[in-house]
């Protein structure tokens, strides 16, 4: 018997991923230095885009990997936003510290939500999340402490200069992106990532290989709730105002579904591509109102029927150049 090969190594990075990594670092540095070179309008756009990227990535983790289709992620956006406003406005906590503290709210809400809804079959789980979001919205509209339907205003922000606020916002956005996109990337490359990918492809087969599907789903649901809540807290802090109708708007769910489906579900790159498409489409065609939304709806329908991989799936057919490679490739080096 001859030795079939001398050296074998596992290749995890590709040339495309090295380029993407460098780009990510450049983008993050660019983002954090924005207050010194960009206009306030551009910074607002950057905050909005960061929130879209984060919310979509979290939905991708849920629906694309854990098989948990949620149409109620707005529940976590709203509770995190409200907790931030209450902590900063009523308890005098520094608002930028309150953003981090407010992540407790989505985590606490996610536990009973998951435990109740896990009993529902796939499609019913989705509508169940929607009911929870609606229930939280209606409850919020009935609580006088939260100013009921009229909502809250973040007046404490006036004590900071615009420059101070902008610096804090870009740092928070950078943290948000690192936590959600970087976190997803790290998770998918880890041992858990193998289990998640197996679950994405076939949950029953994954369970038979020793993956604890139930526990993993629970963990992902909570993680996604916290990530989504983080984005929600930043978004509404930048808005300076939150109302039940805005914070718990089902449109957040529509937006995540649109972004992830058009971009490409089950890939980190897909959610990024989708968020960029949505962000610019919204700038260009948002003024057409309902006609624009008809097109978004139909596009989502067509992609679900004919091109489940979305734009990223189509790009991958042209050539396999992952930005965030999560696979392990065995490279054999024959040194004879």
């Amino acid at each position: 018997m001859t030795q079939p090969f001398q050296h074998a190594r596992v290749q995890r990075a590709t040339p495309s991923s090295r380029i993407a990594m460098s780009l990510c670092v450049i983008v993050l540095v660019g983002l954090v230095t924005m207050p010194w070179w960009a206009s306030s309008g551009n910074i607002r756009w950057a905050i909005e885009l960061s929130c879209y990227l984060a919310i979509a990535q979290m939905w991708n983790l849920l629906a694309g990997y854990a098989g948990l289709v949620s149409v109620g992620q707005q529940a976590f956006i709203g509770v995190a936003g409200y907790m931030l406003f209450v902590l900063a406005q009523n308890f005098g906590v520094n608002p930028f510290v309150a953003v981090i503290l407010s992540l407790i709210a989505p985590a606490v809400l996610a536990v009973p939500t998951y435990l109740l809804l896990r009993r529902l079959d796939g499609p019913y789980f989705a509508i169940g999340t929607w009911v929870v979001a609606e229930a939280v919205r209606l409850a919020t509209s009935n609580i006088d402490y939260l100013n009921a339907g009229a909502g809250l205003t973040l007046r404490v922000m006036t004590q900071y200069s615009q420059h101070e606020r902008e610096v804090a916002f870009v740092i928070l956005c950078a943290l948000l992106l690192v936590a959600t996109i970087g976190g997803s990337y790290w998770l998918l490359r880890s041992r858990i990532g193998l289990a998640l990918t197996a679950m994405r492809d076939n949950p029953v087969a994954a369970a038979s290989q020793g993956v604890n599907v139930g526990r993993l789903r629970f963990a992902i649901f909570i993680a996604a709730a916290v990530g989504t809540g983080f984005a929600g807290a930043i978004y509404y802090m930048a808005q300076l105002r939150i109302t039940p109708a805005a914070g718990f708007d089902p449109f957040w769910a529509s937006m995540s579904i649109f972004i992830v489906m058009v971009g490409g579900i089950g890939a980190i790159e897909g959610a990024i591509v989708g968020a960029l498409i949505y962000f610019f489409a919204d700038r260009l065609f948002g003024e057409y109102g309902s006609a624009y939304l008809i097109v978004l709806g139909l596009l989502t329908l067509i992609i679900a029927l004919y091109a489940r991989g979305g734009v990223w799936g189509l790009l991958q057919k042209l050539g396999d150049h992952p930005w965030f490679p999560v696979q392990r490739k065995l490279v054999l080096e024959d040194k004879r």
Partner: protein, 286 residues
């Protein structure tokens, strides 16, 4: 007395929800899919009825006779061109496809009918009422409830006794085995969706008579139908009917406590049932 009145009004309201829930229970029972555009399709039919009433000199009965065949056809088209492509073990494609459809439909209706609320012209029946033991009941809500009972009974009979019902139950239990014994699942699916949307056609006329409708009302109707199905117990038609009653009563009682609490009470009862009796109140013991 006030609470007895609330319960009776709740049961009458439940009659409306039962009509939304029946079709959903039927479709989920046989295909394991939920049509997220269920409520939007109902609103679309309602708005169509209102427009038709303005053009054609039809009475309420005439409108039902016209809209139900349109609804049946719509259901068949929906199944043929969309749902048949996404039926399968994975719930994601059907959810996303019908979600996209729902967004598109809502906004299409906004374009066509604008955001105004509309209703059918009052023909007397909507405001007629009678008194029974000191409690006033509207003639129309009672009629809606009777229709819901007749529909549930009729549909249950069809499923139990007819050839189509046997085929449907076979396809629901095991699609491949049913196909081997000569049942055409796609045909069964098409009939089930046609029936489900056909019932929505009837519900659409009642909804337009009872209250106002506007293009964005569909999601709420979807949620009520869903809650009724889950409260009652998945896959059982009488369960969906009973669930609709429970939901209607919960909402009516909440409404009496505080006008802002009606719908929230419905959600809370739904969550309470999910926490304590997740198989639904009517589920058969396994």
């Amino acid at each position: 007395m006030q609470w007895l009145d609330a319960i009776i009004q709740g049961v009458l309201l439940g009659g409306m929800y039962a009509q939304y829930a029946l079709g959903m229970a039927l479709m989920f029972g046989v295909m394991r899919i939920v049509n997220i555009a269920h409520g939007d399709v109902m609103i679309l039919l309602s708005l169509t009825v209102i427009t038709l009433a303005g053009v054609l000199p039809l009475g309420n009965i005439g409108l039902i006779v016209v809209i139900v065949p349109i609804a049946v056809l719509l259901g068949w088209v929906l199944q043929k061109f969309i749902l048949n492509k996404v039926v399968g073990a994975d719930p994601l494609p059907s959810l996303i496809a019908t979600f996209g459809l729902s967004i598109a439909l809502q906004n299409l209706m906004l374009e066509v009918w604008s955001a105004d609320t509309r209703s059918l012209p009052n023909s007397g029946i909507a405001s007629a009422s009678f008194e029974l033991g000191g409690i006033y009941m509207g003639v129309l809500p009672v009629l809606v409830l009777i229709c819901a009972i007749v529909l549930t009974f009729g549909l249950d009979m069809v499923l139990r006794t007819s050839r189509f019902g046997r085929g449907l139950r076979a396809a629901a239990a095991d699609t491949e085995a049913a196909a081997m014994t000569g049942v055409d699942p796609k045909r069964i699916y098409a009939i089930a969706t046609a029936i489900a949307v056909g019932i929505l056609g009837l519900a659409a006329v009642f909804a337009a008579l009872r209250a106002t409708v506007s293009p964005s009302d569909g999601s709420a109707q979807l949620i009520y139908a869903f809650e009724a199905v889950i409260i009652g117990g998945m896959g059982s038609l009488w369960g969906a009917f009973l669930g609709a009653m429970v939901l209607g009563v919960a909402q009516a009682i909440g409404l009496r406590i505080d006008p802002g609490l009606g719908i929230l009470f419905g959600h809370l009862v739904f969550l309470a049932v999910l926490a304590t009796r997740p198989e639904g109140i009517m589920a058969r013991k396994k």
